[in-house]
């Protein structure tokens, strides 16, 4: 059991000027399940490997509990890691794979057998203990990799996209297994993924990285409800948030004939930074179809309807009189709205959507930071 602290940890790969991880400040609590998430190349795996000791730390420090492990070799850090491709020893049986670290540490044979047996029971691997990895399915290999980490009883678990090689269905079930296993064992865990659904469903807290910089650390709902900048707003949430630049005038944000009332405090902040536009984000569920005679909506031509049973999503593009300007100002090339699944529109239909009052997110045009009313 231990806390993990990144203290301005920086990694600059030789031959590059731009840090892969730039002054990462992150405090992970004892027993916490923290997910590092971000697009590929954002530095999340590098951060994890720095913690593991597989990557040099060029600046700052990393601590596990009170120990400064910044330049400590991996074996002295008391961590265990689950790799993306599992990295099982192909020539050893499942039991030997799981017991290898203990054997090196000089643990007695009986103790190894007991601990491997316990872990195997926990992971439902008992009948496979004598098999080699090549005789296992992908899901079983994944569990062996988990078992190898559990047997060590380390202070910290590190997981580097452990589910990305599983098929979609297995990924969903393993996701919950890992989360509940972690809660049961209570071992501090750092989990890397590029999949924001995984991040949201598994983590106690989620840290969002982009281009080597930490964007925000918060609980999944915190990230969803109060994204601290435009990047987090666009990255977290599936389907993604609609984001567009609106003109600010007379206490209202307008874009073509779309018109949203904004709080006076937001208008004041926009005026304060000397701009007359604001970035406005609204999630698919914040859009409601309006009767056509209402004004202030965004007319949308439906391109695709995704019917998922419990939900239905409309993917479309602006189709009103100011369609061109609206399309230009949108961050993505489509508008996404959630609609009644039993009453979904057909593709080709034109619907007028309005933004539900109070559910908008405002961001500064200049800094991309969240503007709080």
């Amino acid at each position: 059991m231990a806390t993990v602290t990144f203290d301005k940890a920086t990694r600059i790969y030789p031959g590059t000027d731009k840090p892969a991880v730039d002054a990462l400040d992150l405090a992970i609590e004892d027993g916490e399940f923290l997910v590092l998430v971000g697009p590929s190349g954002c530095g999340k795996s590098t951060s994890l490997r720095m913690l593991a000791g597989l990557e040099e730390v060029d600046g700052g420090a990393i601590r596990i509990g009170d120990r400064d492990v910044t330049h400590m070799p991996p074996k002295d850090r008391d961590i265990a890691m689950v790799f993306q491709n599992y990295a099982l020893y192909p020539h050893m049986t499942v039991a030997d794979n799981m017991g290898f670290a203990l054997k090196i540490a000089g643990v007695s044979k009986d103790e190894i057998r007991r601990r491997v047996g316990d872990a195997a029971k926990l992971l439902d691997l008992t009948e496979y203990l004598d098999r080699k990895p090549k005789a296992l399915s992908g899901g079983q290999r994944q569990r062996v990799a988990m078992g190898r980490a559990i047997v060590r009883e380390p202070q910290v678990f590190l997981m580097d996209e452990p589910l990305s090689n599983l098929d979609a269905k297995l990924r969903v079930s393993t996701r919950t297994q890992i989360a509940s296993l972690q809660r049961r064992l209570g071992i501090t865990t750092v989990y890397v993924t590029h999949d924001q659904v995984e991040a949201m469903t598994m983590g106690d807290r989620v840290a969002v990285l982009n281009a080597g910089l930490l964007q925000q650390v918060d609980s999944p709902l915190g990230l969803y409800d109060k994204p601290s900048n435009v990047f987090v707003a666009g990255f977290i949430g599936s389907p993604a948030m609609n984001i567009a630049t609106f003109d600010v005038k007379d206490g209202r944000a307008t874009l073509g004939n779309a018109d949203v009332a904004i709080p006076a405090s937001i208008a004041a902040k926009v005026a304060e930074e000397g701009s007359d536009t604001v970035v406005l984000g609204f999630r698919p569920e914040s859009l409601t179809p309006a009767s056509s005679e209402e004004t202030g909506g965004i007319p949308v031509l439906v391109d695709v309807v995704e019917e998922l049973g419990s939900d239905a999503y409309v993917y479309g593009r602006p189709a009103g009189p100011a369609a061109e300007e609206q399309a230009d100002r949108l961050r993505s090339d489509q508008i996404i709205a959630r609609v009644e699944p039993r009453n979904a529109p057909q593709k080709g239909e034109k619907i007028n959507f309005t933004v539900r009052q109070g559910s908008e997110h405002f961001f500064s045009v200049k800094t991309g930071e969240r503007l709080e009313p």
Binding site: L54, F100, P133
Partner: protein, 309 residues
């Protein structure tokens, strides 16, 4: 002509020429050699008489041949072991043995230079290697490099007339052959080690495995297939040893014939003693021994194949 007939004709057209060439140039020399080994042919005249197994009986009683056989046995056991162990060790240091501060899995510092240096002996012809090492072990006044070095560092007591000591000869050959072959195996094993996924080494690192343990428990088992191939190949090469011995020690296998090997003995009987029949008998013996060695090594080293997932 029906379809079936046409297909056989087609297959035969492509099969016969290569099989024919193989039979004429590979199989028939063996058969001829076996026949010649049962004659008293001198190799200089057309006269040859069939004498059955007389040449083989003579081999049985030939002390010099026993010496050559014994030396071949030393070569075939010691040279592969030394070469493969060194090759594995060097390849492991060049590819995965280094430990940078960050713990990334790489070779030791400067490994790209070492890789080239280790391969040097492989581009030299055996003749040049033989001559170079003749100088290394020559007496000091004849340019003997080893003796000079020993003298220069004050180890005069270790100076020897290396090539004049019957007991040393075969071990000098062992050394030279190992030196000349090790580079090839470094390259061979390097290629095999490059194919092992890095994350397996990282997992070993996290599991607390030391360099030696990683070498023994991870690297070697994962390149074992290549080691096995290398072992058979090396055993066949060591069974020969003709060029090195002939160039360094001469046609009689050095002083008192103490460094003699079967290859040199065969050459001597054929071209110096003009006894092709006896030479052919030695050749047949070498064929049988090489095959037996290859089979034994392949059997003895067989393990379950490891698949890199």
């Amino acid at each position: 002509m029906n379809m079936r007939h046409g297909r056989y004709l087609f297959i035969l057209t492509f099969l016969l020429p290569p099989v024919g060439i193989y039979a004429i140039y590979m199989l028939s020399p063996y058969v001829q050699a076996i026949y010649i080994s049962m004659t008293d042919w001198s190799g200089l005249t057309a006269a040859q008489t069939f004498i059955g197994f007389d040449n083989y009986v003579e081999m049985w009683n030939d002390d010099q041949l026993h010496k050559a056989l014994w030396n071949n046995l030393i070569l075939v056991l010691v040279v592969p072991v030394l070469t493969l162990l060194l090759g594995l060790f060097f390849a492991s240091m060049l590819n995965v043995g280094g430990r940078s501060r960050g713990g990334a899995v790489t070779g030791v510092r400067g490994s790209s230079i070492y890789k080239v240096v280790y391969f040097f002996p492989q581009v030299l012809s055996v003749a040049i290697i033989g001559i170079v090492f003749k100088y290394v072990f020559a007496p000091e006044n004849a340019g003997g490099i080893l003796n000079r070095v020993l003298g220069a560092v004050g180890l005069d007591g270790l100076q020897r007339l290396w090539l004049a000591e019957p007991d040393y000869l075969i071990w000098i050959i062992v050394l030279v052959m190992t030196w000349s072959f090790v580079g090839f195996y470094v390259v061979l094993f390097s290629a095999a080690m490059q194919a092992i996924p890095r994350d397996i080494y990282e997992a070993a690192l996290l599991d607390g495995s030391s360099r030696l343990t990683t070498f023994r428990k991870v690297t070697v088992p994962l390149v074992w297939d290549t080691v096995q191939v290398g072992w058979v190949y090396m055993a066949i090469q060591a069974m020969d040893g003709f060029a090195t011995v002939h160039i360094m020690l001469g046609i009689n296998g050095g002083v008192q014939g103490a460094g003699d090997v079967l290859g040199v003995a065969m050459y001597r009987e054929a071209f110096a003693e003009a006894d092709f029949g006896y030479a052919a008998a030695i050749g047949v013996l070498m064929l049988v021994l090489t095959m037996v060695a290859a089979i034994l090594f392949m059997r003895g080293l067989r393990r379950e194949r490891v698949e890199l997932a």
